[in-house]
Amino acid sequence: MSDIDRVVTVPIGPQHPALKEPESFMVDLRGEKIDAVRIRFGYNHRGIEKGCETRSYTQDLYLVERVCGICSFSHSTAFIHAVEEIAGLEVPVRAKYIRTIIGELERIHSHLLWLGVAGHEIGFDTLLMYTWRDREQVMILLARLTGNRVNYGINTYGGVRRDIAPDMMPEILKVVDSLEERTKHYIELAMREQTLIQRLSGVGKLSKEDALFLGTVGPTARASGVDRDARRDDPYLAYPDLEFKVVIDDHCDVYGRTIVRLGELMQTYSILRQLIKKIPDGPITVKAPRRIPEGEAVSRYEAPRGEDVHYVRGNGTEKPERVKVRAPTLANTASVGKMLEDGYLADLPIVVAAIDPCFSCTDRMVGVRESGTESRGAGRKTMTWEEVSRYGVEWHKARGLDFSSLGIPGGIEA
C-alpha cells in the first residue's frame, strides 16, 4: 500500500493561525505523523542592528527596546549594561533594584502570556482567557510604574527614569499575592487536568544531551535538566543580593517546560518580595555622557525566554559602531526540529510554542537567492552596505514602490 506511505507536505507558515509571526515550517507528513520539518527564517528581518549604528545611543535605547514586544525590558537592559560597561558608569543601587523589579514583573507577564498561548495551541481557550485575565493585573501595574504596558522606557544610561513611589510598594505586593494564588491554581490544574496532561506530556522530547548540543537556553534548556540561569551564573543588577532557586525539571517535554515556567513564576514572586523588602533609598540615576568611549562589551541577561546576549562596540562618538543582538529564540529554534521528530502534526503548534518563540526578535539575515538556483548555498554572494541599499531600492521599484527619494542611509542617491 504505497498510498499510505505517501508523504504529504503541509506548509505551516509563513502565514498560519498557529504562528503569531511569519516563519515557515514545511512539514512532511505520513498520515498524521511528522516525517521531516524544514524551518526557514527571514520573513521578518527589520534591520534593527544596522539601524542602531545610524542613530545615537539615546535613540538606540528605544530602538533596542522594540526588538521584542514581550521581553522589551530584557533587550533594553542587556543593551544598556553593555553600554554602561564601556562608559564605566556605576549605576546607583536603588536604580538596580528598580530595574530588577521591572525585569521580574516582565517575567511574570511573559510566563502568564506563554501559559495562555500554550493553552490556545492545544485548543484550551479557557486557559488562555483566564491567564490573560490574571496577566492584566501585572500589565496595569507595569503601566502605573513605568508609563506603558509594554516598551516601558524606564531605562536610561546610568539609572532609571522613574522612581517607584513608596506608596506603590504595597500595590506591587498586592498584585504579587493575588497572582501567587492564581499561579498555585494553575500548577494544580497542570498537575491534574487529564486532557492537559495528555496533550503536554511526552510531546516534544528533547534529551539533556540534545539540549546541550543544540545550545538551548532558558526554560527550554532547564526543562531538559540543564542547570543554567544567567541570573545565578553571572549575576547582574540586584541578583547577587537575592535568594532564589533555579527551577529545573527532567521531564524533557512540553509538560516539563510548563512546570519550569510555573515554578519560575513562584520564584519570581519570592524575588519580588525580597526586592521590596531590601530596596535602599538613594539616587536613581547618575549623569551619563552623550559620547561613549571606545571599547566593546558583551552582556548577558536572563530574559523570560532564555539568555539574551548583546554585544556593543563604541568608537568614541555618539553612535555605536556595532550592535549585535542574540535573542533567546535564535538559540532555541534549532531544537524545534529535534523535538518534532516522530511527533504528530497536532503537536506541532504546542511544540513550537513551547520554546516561547519570538521570531521577529530572531531574524537577523535575509538570504538573497538568484532566481533559478534551487539549493540554498548556490547564488549566494557577499554585498556591501551600498549594494544592499541599491538592491533593496531596485527590488521595490520593480514592484511599483519608489523609495529612492527617501535618501536611504548608506549614501546612495536616486
Binding site: T58, Q59, Y62, N148, R161, H185, E193, I197
Partner: protein
C-alpha cells in the same frame, strides 16, 4: 514522577463560578476605559516657554518632532503621532521641561494628516516678549492639525 491523581474537568468549578461574577472584559467603546495617571501618551508643549534648542527633535528616536522658528524667540512645535513611539525621551531631554506626556490613548484618525499636531506659540506681543508666568494661552489647548 507523575502527579498522583488525574482529573477530568478540573476547571469546572472555577468556570461555573465565573457565571456569577462580573466579567473581566468591558464593552469597550461603550464603557469608558482609563489609563493610569502616569501613562505616557502623546507629548504636549507649552509653546511659549520653548527656547527652540531642538534637543527634543534631536533625541527623538523616530524623528517625529519638528521645531520651527516663527518669530523672535517664538517657536512652533509639531509632533507626528504617526511616527511617535511615546517613549517620552523628549520630555526627559528638554532643558526647560516644557514637554509633558498626556495620558490620552485613543488617537486613531482616518486621515493621516490629522496625526500631525502643531502647538503654536502665542502671537508676537507688542511689548517685549518674555513673560515668566505666562498664563495658559489658547495655544495650550488641543493642538490644531496642520494640513
Amino acid at each position: 514522577m507523575r502527579a498522583p491523581r488525574h482529573h477530568l474537568g478540573e476547571m469546572v468549578s472555577s468556570v461555573l463560578g465565573s457565571l456569577f461574577r462580573k466579567p473581566a472584559t468591558i464593552r469597550y467603546p461603550y464603557a469608558p476605559f482609563k489609563m493610569p495617571d502616569r501613562f505616557r501618551g502623546p507629548p504636549k508643549w507649552e509653546s511659549d516657554k520653548c527656547i527652540g534648542c531642538k534637543l527634543c527633535s534631536r533625541d527623538c528616536p523616530s524623528q517625529a518632532i519638528t521645531i520651527t522658528k516663527v518669530g523672535e524667540k517664538r517657536f512652533d512645535q509639531t509632533v507626528d503621532l504617526g511616527k511617535c513611539v511615546f517613549c517620552g525621551q523628549c520630555a526627559e531631554t528638554c532643558p526647560r521641561k516644557v514637554i509633558t506626556m498626556t495620558p490620552d490613548f485613543e488617537l486613531a484618525q482616518i486621515d493621516k494628516q490629522n496625526l500631525k499636531i502643531t502647538y503654536h506659540a502665542s502671537p508676537a506681543p507688542a511689548a517685549p516678549a518674555p513673560q515668566p508666568a505666562a498664563a495658559p494661552e489658547p495655544a495650550k489647548g488641543a493642538g490644531e492639525p496642520t494640513v
